[in-house]
Structure formats: structure tokens, C-alpha cells
Subunit: 364 residues, 2 copies
Amino acid sequence: MSHKKLFIPGPTEVLPDILEAMAMPMIGHRSKDYAALQGETTPKVQQCLYTKNQIILSTSSSTGLMEAAVLNFVRPGKKVLACMCGAFSDRWAGIAKANNKEVIELKVEWGKGIHPEMIDDILKKQAGEIDLILLVMNETSTGVMNPAKEIQAVVNKYKDAGVLMAIDAVSAMMAVPIHTDDWGIDFVLAGVQKAWSLPPGLAVAAMSERAIERAKEVPHRGYYFDLLEYVKYNEKNQTPSTPVISLINALNVMCTRILDKEGLDNRWARHARQADMVRNWALSRGFELFPEKGFYSQGLTCIKNNKEINVADLNSALGKRGKTISNGYGKIKDATFRISHMGDIYEKDLAELLADIDDILGYK
Amino acid sequence: MSHKKLFIPGPTEVLPDILEAMAMPMIGHRSKDYAALQGETTPKVQQCLYTKNQIILSTSSSTGLMEAAVLNFVRPGKKVLACMCGAFSDRWAGIAKANNKEVIELKVEWGKGIHPEMIDDILKKQAGEIDLILLVMNETSTGVMNPAKEIQAVVNKYKDAGVLMAIDAVSAMMAVPIHTDDWGIDFVLAGVQKAWSLPPGLAVAAMSERAIERAKEVPHRGYYFDLLEYVKYNEKNQTPSTPVISLINALNVMCTRILDKEGLDNRWARHARQADMVRNWALSRGFELFPEKGFYSQGLTCIKNNKEINVADLNSALGKRGKTISNGYGKIKDATFRISHMGDIYEKDLAELLADIDDILGYK
């Protein structure tokens, strides 16, 4: 198959040196070489997430760590508050229910964001019942980015009541800064196939001491996603079961690239420029943005298809030019389309893509 | 790090063309290209496992699918019968308990095998209580290979009573033939980093119609390892959450290599010869084999360290020659050592390894 450059919200485009890192010769996962690899990678991930917390390297998609949050942080008799604003946050509520947890649903219309005061209103009355809040920072289905920092600040007021928040930062982590320790985040997770720009199969999380203490109070956390086991094995720079070594190697190479070559601040600035670039293009061509104003994602743009273009035809024409974008997701599949601008997609790539779209749609 | 050839029981040695397959440019996991890949891979895996059953491709280590068996096949009020004969089968019983299942323990001394009549004796009395038997076909910790075919034949007598068996074929699958359909296996799983000779991060299982029907009777199967979701997504050649695409590509390439280049029968014959070779070497040098006679693994040999050699020193000397073997596991760490001869380790490699060991230990 001939490769199409990926402007889809994951898996994102992967650079050749990272693909090369995927092809490393194999090593034993209980060897010194492996421990050296994990020991080298972990502090770099911590630096990327501005944290001293435990780093969890889970051989799974991010869905696995979404389930881990539900399994590890809810004590018997306590409830989950699910902030629902799109397909992936709706799904997280479903994951909680599939694990027999009682869920309070905070639902907003797709395209709308979660406002901090919505959480405050609920916690004012029900903080004592709620052990865990589920927040999707960047709803990949709607292009909504929720204000994680401000929401975390609200949650922090209720920490003494036992409220803990898990943040799904899939398609946000490494596209925007997440100041884990400064913001007081207890658990933040992502898959590496989004703004980390690696192939899929590994999920990463940072887990606070407070989250560890909470997990200790929860019986029957399952086995594969028992986070306390990960913390225990971290001591010797290993994982409880065999890890996806090739991807951890690729993550290590990627961290070095981000920290030493691009620089974190440059990365955030580049993503901000790229998001602007796509949003401005969409607006200037007469499209509307799907998300509520002020809640625009820095990783991908969800564009309302108010001009009723044929997205399938557009994508097929783009395919012939070696590029691919994404249609809408779930119930807004036909009403929107999405352009991803995170990870190792650069301004030059986006300029080419937008010129191609203009050309195909006859916009100039 | 300079590469050491792996004679350890996983991850096993990976060939260059498979490493190259790991470096494939990324594709979307909801794209036609991905569906074509999964659609091409699945029938080949079925052919390798002599089955028409559903193939589950799980982005996890095999531990994940061991947990899946426990989550999907035990109805409320029913019990698990765990056949325990080493570290990994002991752990499976632990996985069942971590998920709040009631476990009947059939325990034999490490090094001994599970005899079919042991299972028959229990089922004669308790078949009605037991929903799921957990059998590790090849105990990687002790080098014991249990007679899966004969044990399955016993279990099949009790199918009407609702007894189902899950077989962990880690370090057996692709080292010995597993005639899934002929033997009547309902669920057999393995990680791909053993006799499949791929890097770790993907687990594979075959799941029968009967197993699917059972799962439908089990509420709260969790989410990530809800096997019915995998079956549902198989219809469109996709997986419920983002799969480890690079490894599925490598699996596809490996299947072609096995089926078209080596041939299944040749593969089984080669593994039998390689197992003989290592066992004969050990015995001729005055070592004893750790497993009970008749229960020798075809994938790896666990050797009793009755000559009290220093395995760490041996391994360190082997390391300088670009090779590595494995010490014992768990409570027999010092009393045994292990040489793996499965997957893409060939007779020539083993001859070199054994000559090196002879040389280092002064056996010639």
C-alpha cells in the first residue's frame, strides 16, 4: 500500500527515525538492557508532563487506561461523575457502567464544552458521594478542548471530601502543555498515537501519590490494569507483564527529539500556530467551526460541513495526492469533518494540504 | 546496546524482515487499508491454529487475554478450576481471584505435569459447579508441557454440564501443532513474543461459538477485554479500540513466512529436533531435566542445575559472545536454568550456543 500522509486525529503521521526505532532488535523484558531503556524513558516523560509523579507505561490502547481509572479509583459504594460532551467521553461513562460503577452523568450537547462551574455546582451538593470525575480534555469527536486547568482547580477544592479526577488527555498530551504537578492532577493518560506521534499500542499516564493511596483502598482492581502493580514494578524499571518494547524504545527516541531538538515551548507554540492556521482557513472559506467558541482544540479542528461538500469525494481526491483527512465521528459523521494538526505534522504539511483542498474544491 | 541473540523463553529472537515489518508507515485503524490488513491476517492465523473460530487480536500481553478468559467465561455463582503447576499457572489462579472469582485449586509440585485423569477425577464430582478450567499448556517456568489434547478430550465429556476450558498456549503455540477444531478447544491464547517470534505487545486467541454463547451469559465482562466486542468488530475487520498496527503487520508477514516458506509440518518437525538436541546435550553433560518424564516442552528446556554451575557467570560469558540464555524462574531461580529453542532460533544457532557453553564450562 502506498503511504498517505495522515491528517487524521490518530494514528498520526510518524517520522522515519521513529519507525526505525520500532525496528530495534529484541531484548528480554527482564534484562538490564530493558531496565536501562525504561529508566531512561521515564524521567523524560515526566519532564514532558511537568511532573515527578509515577509514570505508567501500559501495553494497551488508551481505552485500557480509561478502564484502569475506573477500576482503581472508586471505592465500594462511591460514585463516578462522568463529564460527557462527545463520543469518547460518552464511552468513558460506558466503561464505568460495564464495570458495575454507579455513574452520575453531566451531559452537554456535542460541540459544547465542560465549564468549570458545572462541576462546582455538582460537587457543592454531592462531593461526598463522588470518588472519581472522568474528564476528557480534548474530545476528539467534536474538536472541543475542555479547560483542564480550571476544572482541576475546582476539583482541588473538594480533594478533602475524597474527590479525585482522571483526565483523558488523548489528542491533548504533547499538543498543549499539561502542568501535572502545578495544576494538581492526580491521573492523566493518553495513547501515544496522537500528539506523541508514535504508532499505536502503548498508553502513558502520570499517577500521583494521592491516586496511589486511593487505589490501596479499592479491593478487586482486576489484574492487567491494577495500577499498584505498575507502581511496584516501576521500582526496578520494569512492568508487571511483558511490555511493548519496540514502542517504549520509540517513545524514548521521541522524548529526546521533543526535549532536545524541538523544545517543549517551541512545540506548544507550533501547535498553537497550526491550529490557528487550519481554523483561519476554514473560516475564510465560509465554513463554521463545530465547537463552542473558546473551546477550540489545539490538536485537531472539527469543521461544520455547512457548505455541504462531499467529504468522501474530497478524501478520495486527497488520497490520490498522498494525503488523508477525517470525516466526522459517530452521530456527527456527515455534519462535520476533521483535520488533525498535532504531532509530527508541520506548517509546511498543512499549507500543502490546505492548498490541495482549495484546488480540489475549486476555492481558488 | 549491542544485540545478544535470545535463547530465552520470550521475547524470542526476531528476524530482520519482521523488524522491517514493524517499521511500516502508519495507517488509520478505521481505514480500508487497515481492514485489508486484518482481513488478510486473520485467515492465516486460523490456518496456523487449524481452526475456523473467531480470532481475537488483543493489544496487550498474553496476561490480558488470561484475564479476558476469567472475565468472559464464568457465570455468577460458578467456579474456576485452576490447574497449577508453575509460576504462570499459579498466576492465572491469582488473576481469577483478583477478579473476585471462586477458585478450586488443582496443584501439583513444580516440575510435575497435569495428568488428564486428575481433571477427570474432579469433574466427576464437581462438573456442575465449574464453569471454567484454566490450563497452561506449556509452563514456561518449569519447562513442563501438559497434554492439552488429552486433557481437552476429558473436558469435552463434561461440556453439557457447562464446563469450558481456556488454554494458555504461551510458549507452545507455533512450537507444537494445536488442532483447535479437531480437539474441540473453546479458547486458546498466546502472546506473539514466544514461538511466533515477534516483538511483544500483541496477544492472539481463537474463540469458539460455544465460548461466544457463554460470554453472552456473563454480565459485567469489563470493557477492554470484553471478547464479544472483539467478535463484533471482527465483522468489519477492525478491533474495538486502537490496535497495535505495527505488530499486526508483523504478524501478517510472519504468517506468510510460516505457511508459505517453512510450512507448518516442517515447523513442528524442526521444533521437535531442536528440543531433542538441547535435551540430549544437557543429559550427555551430566545435567538432569527438571520436568517429569513425558512432559518435556518442545519450546524450551528447563535444566536442573545439579552440577551447580554459576549460571550468572555463564550468561555473562555468553553475553560477550553475543548470546543469552535464562536463569530459573521464581522459586527455582537458582536450582534450574532454561534454554529456549522456539521460534526463529534454528539448529545452527543452537549448535553454536551449545558449543559456546561447552567451551565456557570446559566440557571439551
